[in-house]
Symmetry: C2
Subunit: 444 residues, 2 copies
């Protein structure tokens, strides 16, 4: 308990550091701090009961550290810091929800998602649960008329259903919370790219190395089909980030997935890990896609290497290379070098000594995202309404569908060994297709 | 001239630093310094006449710096340092040969390769010329009965002809001088791999980023078919190194080549660069190769990223990751981390402040290779004979053929977009195949 509390305190301090208020804010400190007293938030986080389990909530992009922290523990202080009232918490079990709500001082808790979704005081629902459950709650929340911030879905079909719901309720906020888009280093990188710092963009190279993403007990993180593995968890965030930075979408992908660790001390016997711990994929963005093979097309080549068999030091590097220079984000810092200059310049230093290095990119990004959310809800006078401006750079559900499509194309490529084209679903596949075909045949 | 001389002096100092004598050497300093007075060497290096041209000799693995240095300028002092008599120098033109021979103090010079090959005083021929010319001189040198150290050939067919010659004269030394195999960091890495430092090897990841490999004027470096480009020049050395480190050969490869810079200030008009400046390939080594695609096979995955659109800072990193830890060579230093330990440990520090960082891995490797050559020639009393022990780790012509085969498979894969299997040539393709088929058809 001692440990939990101290970590929580540390986190609050960090949360404070994380928030970088834009210089053009015109609100007074008081106003900014308590933006809109009555915008209330509910956090849906399925926390496991045992404190020894590594992953407290079904979230991908922060690891290792999650045996003590959960996304709720990270998110709730950030939301409060920005003036949101965190009103309700939904957990997997009554007991788990109660304990976490008590710890975080949240007045209402439940294990029934309907209780929070139907609650009249709730304006914004943050959904951080295992990928296979995300679609169900996100779609329901939109149907009830709540604004939604959620994690990615497990499959492209789920993502498509979420897109359909989001299109149906355009007045509601619906974003896939890829915090990396909000990280100051990537915001600056994107700006510099449009300003032509690197000249004509040629190559993006992203690498994330870290310790295992697996839970300590068998669960969705072990299962490729449930959205486990490096590609789904980290790779999807990189697909989203790179497409966002480049401003183009992947047309063709090639990938290689491996599960080097198929069993471990906790997962053994008849159980096997199917989710990847090594993943390596290439995306071709823009350019001429008609050429055979990959040799002739121009456009931007993105390469992503993920390796989660590397305990200890953590590598998080995104590099973009163009005809006139390059930009490199290492962790939360941004470096650049133009072709003429002798050495690399530090363009943005953002690692102000807060917290362990390993999850900084995500934590800082999350902080900036919550700040943007605050600004979105700050403007309008109506409690539940919001403005698009501040969260314009967030990933929409449409982006989420695109990312899932790329992820599935990479998986397909790893099985086929070939380049696979990325074709975003435009209508739901007929679940009774075989049946219909059989009926058709009978009729003729 | 001032510049050349000062660089040369600097190089000599560096050459001295480079030579790391093994601690178990039993020869006296005098002996070691003047190993075998009468082993003479000829260096065949086609040097360009203009000092403004970037690449003085047809050598791949050192760049940028080559507008002043040439391999001859690097190699000759190293050879002398180890007690070899550098007897003759062959250049492309009489004038060029004379000027370089004068500069380096070499008694005999010519522009006719036969003059040096047939010279009775010459025991060892070092061939550092553009790839398309290597085969011809290497095969001829072996035929005349000289020991050969050379650079890679331009094509697998050339490499096959060199293998045939080497097999025919097994008593002659014939090595492809991949200096990286001799670099102390990689020697240590290989030893640690066999000792199980990283446990079961899973992934190798090599990256070399640097400035353009192109000559300042149009030449073989611009032509893919003549052995220009990052894949052929640097990639082939990495293929050789990784196979040497892993102890297995690539079975299937997948690659992507790009020529981002197709014209520049010096190469324009109707001329276009066809050699790659960005290359990205994967090799699957060992494991089960029968599975469809790449998803199911086990074995070691190697990924190589080469980017030569990055002036300024130079990145040269080779990482091997296994089940129990990892080893990383950054430049000439070796780092390691076992899974249990908190931080990376420095295993070998070898960048003792000599020369610019950019070409250190190659320079140091070359130094170690020359030392090994000296040891090979030191033992036997007969002037031209040698022992295998010290140069056992050198790449043979057979290795050279394998490397060329991988390089061509990667090029094929980049065109087809598919995984290509590596099948080493076992007999020379019939050059008159079409003719024979036509005759066959006429007969029937």
């Amino acid at each position: 308990m001692q440990n939990k509390l101290s970590v929580y305190e540390e986190l609050r301090d960090q949360g404070r550091d994380l928030i970088t208020r834009p210089p053009d804010t015109t609100t007074s400190p008081q106003q900014s701090h308590r933006a809109k007293q009555n915008t209330t938030v509910t956090v849906t986080a399925y926390n496991r009961s045992s404190p020894h389990e590594r992953r407290a909530v079904g979230v991908g992009r922060r690891w290792d550290v999650l045996h003590v922290w959960s996304t709720a523990r990270i998110l709730v202080p950030l939301l409060r810091e920005e003036g949101f009232d965190v009103h309700a918490l939904c957990g997997r079990s009554e007991e788990e929800a109660r304990s976490l709500a008590q710890e975080l001082g949240i007045p209402f808790h439940t294990s029934q998602s309907d209780d929070v979704l139907l609650h009249p005081d709730v304006d914004l629902v943050c959904i951080y649960i295992p990928p296979p459950l995300t679609r169900q709650i996100a779609v329901k929340a939109l149907g009830i008329g709540k604004n939604v911030v959620c994690e990615k879905a497990a499959t492209a079909l789920d993502a498509f259903k979420m897109v359909t719901a989001a299109r149906y309720y355009p007045q509601l906020l619906s974003i896939v919370g890829n915090a990396w888009r909000f990280l100051p280093a990537f915001v600056a990188m994107r700006r510099l790219l449009t300003e032509g710092y690197v000249g004509e963009l040629q190559v993006c190279d992203a690498r994330v190395y870290g310790p295992s993403l697996l839970d300590q007990s068998y669960g969705w993180t072990c299962e490729e089909l449930m959205g486990g593995g490096g590609l789904h968890t980290v790779g999807s965030a990189l697909v989203d980030l790179l497409s966002h930075l480049v401003g183009k979408r992947a047309q063709r992908v090639h990938g290689l997935l491996r599960t080097f660790l198929q069993q471990n001390g906790a997962i053994r016997g008849i159980r096997r890990i199917t989710s990847d711990d090594f993943c390596f994929f290439q995306m071709l963005m823009g350019g001429n896609s008609s050429g055979s093979g990959a040799g002739t097309a121009s456009g931007v080549c993105c390469t992503v290497t993920l390796n989660f068999n590397m305990p200890g030091d953590f590598v998080h590097e995104v590099m973009v290379v163009g005809s006139a220079g390059r930009l490199i984000a290492r962790g939360t810092d941004l470096y650049g070098q133009r072709n003429g200059s002798v050495r690399e310049e530090l363009l943005l230093r953002d690692s102000g000594g807060a917290g362990p290095e390993v999850h900084l990119p995500h934590l800082r990004g999350l902080g900036s995202m919550v700040t943007a959310l605050k600004q979105a809800f700050q403007g309008p006078t109506e409690r539940r309404s919001w403005v698009r401006g501040p969260i314009d750079m967030a990933a929409t559900f449409e982006d989420g569908l695109y990312v899932q499509t790329v992820v599935e194309a990479v998986k397909r490529s790893s099985r086929s060994g070939e380049w696979e084209s990325v074709e975003v679903m435009t209508q739901e596949p007929d679940p009774n297709q075989n049946l219909c075909e059989a009926l058709q045949r009978n009729k003729n």
